[in-house]
């Protein structure tokens, strides 16, 4: 009975379609479904087929097969040939895992400890420590790596260049300390420790103090409370932070290049590029594919943990009255130590780059050896750098900077807007298939290490009908756009989640059209979060090296790739000068936007 009535009353298809298309959110989702599928899945297919193809150059010569014919040889070489496989896959894989694990643990140890001291104890100078501590996160990770070599390289290791520590203190650090896995772990761990600090600190701050207070009333000691109450509650967040640092460390390319080249310590991502450069493209793509699989796996694990234990991390309390642990006599020593450490890793790099960029002979820090030649001089030819003059009066540098800034702004405009629209549409249609599909597709590029991602697009741009893209500004923009979309769409989703749908519906009832609703209601309310969404891609592009090195038409096309070529070819003064410039620009943009809107880089982070 009931069923027939419902059948009779079912709406006609065109009516349902009309209702569907009358919602802007649906149109947005459909649009992005198509675009994102093309931009992230299609290159994936290219990469997969490239794993089985014979490429021109080394592969063709070695295999004596026609270019483009199918082969399983790449797999055989990598996994059957014991010696080759060990050197080109297993050892790099092992190194990557060690670096990723070590960095994750170190990052959490440092970030978590500082977070606990800042939120839960009566530490001195909290504001200062908190502000300076997040600083390294703003700087590109490779600046810390450069800083590390600047400080510790010495006459006995690597290229034999004298670093600051040897020059000033006369101490030669052993090779394992200067190059290889140990410094990689330290640098990546330190770089991401502010991330751990922000995440864990946020939870410690929001955690209902009564949870700990009730344990105090039950006569638990301070230590027992930390062990049995605090730590278990923040555990899911810690795990998730670990996994995120792990996957970032695993995918890191620039840090292992700077700290591993001298001793030929390869990780998977540096090996991938080395293989491709040496003409073993098929094997390079296999490694790229394995990296993506691992990235997906780690994110899957992360989602499993955070999803399952969500009830833990969302504990927020009203009681803001936290009784701080009194550090008593330990207060000053601990504060001093933290201030020293934060200063060392936040301010010292700047000082070091400034110094390195003004000395003629590396390792000699006497005043007589200093010059501003690398900044504004014209006597460059004697250093045979290929740079006619110091970077500030050099057209190559300005052109590179202009391209980088242009790229950053273009990418930011497109990606920021897309992120906001995706955020809006996904939140409004939450739970629907379309919303899930688009959100996942937009997040997909995050799973791919930058190097693997660049490699894939390189493969696309050197094949078929896309040859016109190769080396173009458009390709750089496209790749950077897709690569940084995950952050923008995450921040878009998060900011739109903050706005209850009623806020928009209240305007809908007055007949406010969609565009006006966005412009007059939603955007102003989430102004700072949305601007963060635009700011993030700017900073990402400004400091990105790995993604661009493969795709630029020539090494000095962009500022960051220029820097990379300076450092690879040993003109470290120019390298330091450019690095300092990049850091300054990033800090400048961040503080400018911060002043204007209250949005900040570290606010948009970690979403």
């Amino acid at each position: 009975m009931k069923d027939t009535r419902q059948d009779l009353r079912r709406e006609p298809l065109y009516f349902r379609a009309k209702a569907f298309f009358s919602k802007p959110a649906n149109l947005i989702l459909l649009f992005f479904l198509a675009v994102l599928a093309a931009l992230s899945l299609a290159p994936m297919v290219t990469m997969l087929t490239n794993m089985f193809k014979v490429h021109a150059g080394t592969e063709r010569k070695l295999l004596r097969l026609k270019v483009g014919s199918l082969t399983l040889n790449h797999f055989e070489m990598l996994f059957r040939d014991y010696e080759w496989g060990k050197a080109n896959f297993w050892i790099p894989l092992f190194n990557s895992l060690i670096v990723a694990c070590g960095a994750g643990l170190l990052g959490i140890l440092i970030g978590g400890t500082v977070a606990w001291f800042v939120t839960r104890s009566d530490l001195k100078c909290k504001k200062f420590i908190s502000a300076v501590f997040v600083f390294p996160y703003m700087m590109p990770a490779w600046t810390l790596a450069l800083f590390w070599t600047n400080m510790f390289q010495n006459s006995k290791v690597g290229g034999g260049v004298v670093g600051m520590v040897e020059s000033l203190l006369g101490v030669c650090m052993p090779e394992w300390f200067v190059f290889g896995l140990f410094p990689m772990i330290v640098v990546i761990g330190l770089h991401y420790s502010p991330f751990a600090y922000l995440l864990i600190g946020g939870i410690l701050k929001n955690m209902d103090a009564t949870l700990e207070e009730s344990a105090t009333i039950l006569k638990a000691s301070r230590f027992t409370i930390i062990r049995r109450v605090t730590v278990p509650i923040i555990m899911p967040a810690v795990l998730s932070t670990f996994l995120l640092i792990f996957s970032s460390g695993f995918a890191s390319y620039t840090v292992p290049v700077f700290l591993g080249s001298a001793t030929r310590t390869f990780t998977l991502s540096t090996k991938m590029r080395a293989l491709i450069q040496a003409g073993y493209e098929g094997q390079g793509y296999i490694i790229a594919f394995i990296s993506i699989l691992l990235g997906t796996l780690i994110l899957g694990i992360n989602q499993y943990f955070t999803g399952k234990r969500k009830s833990f991390t969302t504990v927020t309390g009203k009681s803001g009255q936290v009784s701080l642990v009194r550090l008593k006599r330990a207060n000053w020593p601990i504060s001093a130590l933290l201030i020293f450490l934060t200063l060392f890793f936040a301010i010292m790099p700047l000082v070091s780059f400034a110094l390195e960029s003004v000395i003629r002979q590396p390792g000699n820090y006497s005043l007589s050896n200093m010059t501003l030649n690398f900044w504004i001089g014209t006597e460059a030819s004697q250093f045979e750098t290929g740079m006619p003059s110091g970077i500030l009066i050099n057209s190559t540098m300005w052109a590179g900077l202009a391209r980088q800034v242009g790229l950053a702004l273009a990418v930011s405009m497109v990606v920021g807007t897309c992120g906001m629209l995706i955020g809006y549409a996904c939140v409004r249609r939450r739970g629907s298939f379309l919303s899930r599909a688009v959100e996942n597709l937009a997040f997909f590029p995050y799973l791919m290490p930058a190097m693997a991602f660049g490699t894939i697009y390189l493969a696309v741009a050197t094949s078929g009908g896309f040859k016109w893209m190769y080396g173009s500004f458009f390709l750089l923009g496209l790749v950077a756009g897709v690569k940084f979309l995950p952050f923008a769409s995450r921040s878009g989703v998060n900011s739109m989640m903050q706005i209850s749908p009623e806020i928009e519906e209240a305007a809908t009832i007055f007949g406010v059209p969609w565009v006006t609703r966005m412009a007059r209601i939603l955007f102003p309310i989430q102004k700072s979060a949305i601007i963060s969404g635009y700011l993030l891609p700017v900073i990402n592009v400004m400091r990105e090296v790995a993604l661009f090195t493969l795709l630029v038409p020539y090494p000095r096309y962009l500022l960051t790739t220029m820097l990379f070529s300076f450092n690879e070819t040993g003109y470290s003064q120019y390298g330091s000068a450019v690095t300092l410039l990049i850091i300054m620009i990033i800090i400048g943009i961040n503080s400018l936007v911060n002043k204007l809107t209250g949005a900040s880089f570290d606010k948009g982070i970690g979403g």
Partner: protein, 370 residues
């Protein structure tokens, strides 16, 4: 003036049925409450009438004009339905001042500036919030925000006003005050109010008609007192009224001309009624606490379980055999725990439900022999 008609309205979210074949007529200038526990489909219903949600099938008419018709493919957007909507969380725009919040909708309706100014002033005065005109929502208390939200909703003089649990975020005292004001506003604005709440007291005190729903199905649609005195089934009977109605298991022994012979709580009695409907052998006797007084000559004997004096009246819980009975006594009385008392069933508003269908079978009075 508008009358709202819902015909065979269905709403499904995937396989979940939120509203199931709902038929409803909301009279012009009525104050209708959609009442029910959370998840019963009342908010969905309200949002469908307002046009914020699209029904899966059915027909909605406002003022004789179809605003939604699944067969003819009509679906008017909310702004073409001439309605106002008051949200539970007020949905004030946090980046606009009180003035801007109220004026925004009027600007969108392309009113000229002077008219907007006058109307906003009028609204501020009506809701007694003139002094807050330049403040931002975050600088107002919950009650003041509520008034701004009402002002914003009323400003374009909608003919129908929808309210989704508007008082649930206020504290008890303020809620009482706002209830009075809302009822007053209903008369003053001369429009139709449709009001969603899970608070039965609110529904009872405010509305001209209550529409009680459970799991998407309409249970009863009647004036508040009829809902209270003649509930259509045990769900309605249990949901409305505080303390809850006593449900006493009973057996129907025989039918008589003037009623039914019942056996319950170890006693036999005549349920005197003129309108006995279908009832099986197993039945449930529904007795409101006020019809179960404690009296020295009562027919039932019970042991005091606990006493809850509230000043004006006292709720007494007592066990009679295995059944816990609730009685409300006027004034403050205190009984010693476990002391024995006698209770009586009085009045002619005693309900009899069929146990199998849970539906009301009859109303009448209980007469104990002798």
């Amino acid at each position: 003036m508008p009358q709202i008609i819902l015909e065979h309205i269905n709403k499904r979210f995937d396989k979940f049925v939120a509203v199931d074949d709902l038929n409803l007529v909301i009279e012009d200038r009525g104050f209708v409450t959609l009442l029910g526990p959370s998840g019963c489909g009342k908010t969905t219903t309200l949002r469908m009438i307002a046009g914020l949600e699209t029904p899966t099938s059915g027909r909605i008419l406002i003022d004789g004009k179809p605003v939604y018709d699944s067969e003819k493919g009509i679906n008017l957007p909310p702004n073409k339905r001439d309605i106002g909507f008051l949200f539970q969380n007020y949905a004030l725009w946090p980046h606009m001042t009180v003035y801007q919040n109220i004026a925004f909708g009027l600007e969108m309706l392309k009113w000229d500036k002077k008219r907007i100014q006058e109307r906003v002033q009028e609204m501020l005065k009506l809701l007694k919030i003139e002094q807050f005109v330049k403040r931002y929502p975050a600088e107002l208390s919950g009650g003041q925000q509520q008034r701004v939200a009402i002002a914003r909703t009323l400003a374009p003089s909608p003919r129908v006003l929808f309210m989704d649990e508007p008082l649930s975020n206020l504290d008890a005292k303020l809620r009482g005050e706002m209830r009075t004001e809302l009822k007053r506003l209903h008369t003053d604005t001369n429009s139709t109010f449709v009001y969603v709440t899970h608070d039965q007291l609110e529904a009872m005190t405010l509305s001209t008609r209550v529409c009680l729903m459970e799991t998407g199905v309409l249970q009863q649609y009647a004036p508040p007192l009829e809902i209270y005195n003649r509930p259509a089934n045990t769900f309605v009977a249990g949901f409305v009224g505080n303390p809850t109605m006593n449900f006493i298991p009973a057996r129907v022994l025989s039918r008589r001309q003037n009623g039914l012979e019942l056996s319950f709580l170890g006693r036999e009695a005549l349920f005197e009624t003129a309108n006995a409907g279908e009832v099986g052998e197993d039945a449930i006797l529904g007795v409101r606490p006020e019809f179960l007084p404690i009296s020295p000559n009562g027919a039932l004997e019970a042991a005091i379980y606990s006493t809850l004096p509230a000043g004006m009246e006292t709720t007494v819980k007592a066990s009679c055999g295995d059944t816990m009975l609730t009685s409300v006594v006027f004034g403050s009385v205190d009984y010693e725990v476990d002391s024995r008392v006698r209770m009586d069933i009085v009045g002619s508003d005693i309900m009899l439900f069929d146990k199998a269908t849970q539906k009301a079978a009859a109303s009448g009075r209980v007469v104990f022999p002798g």
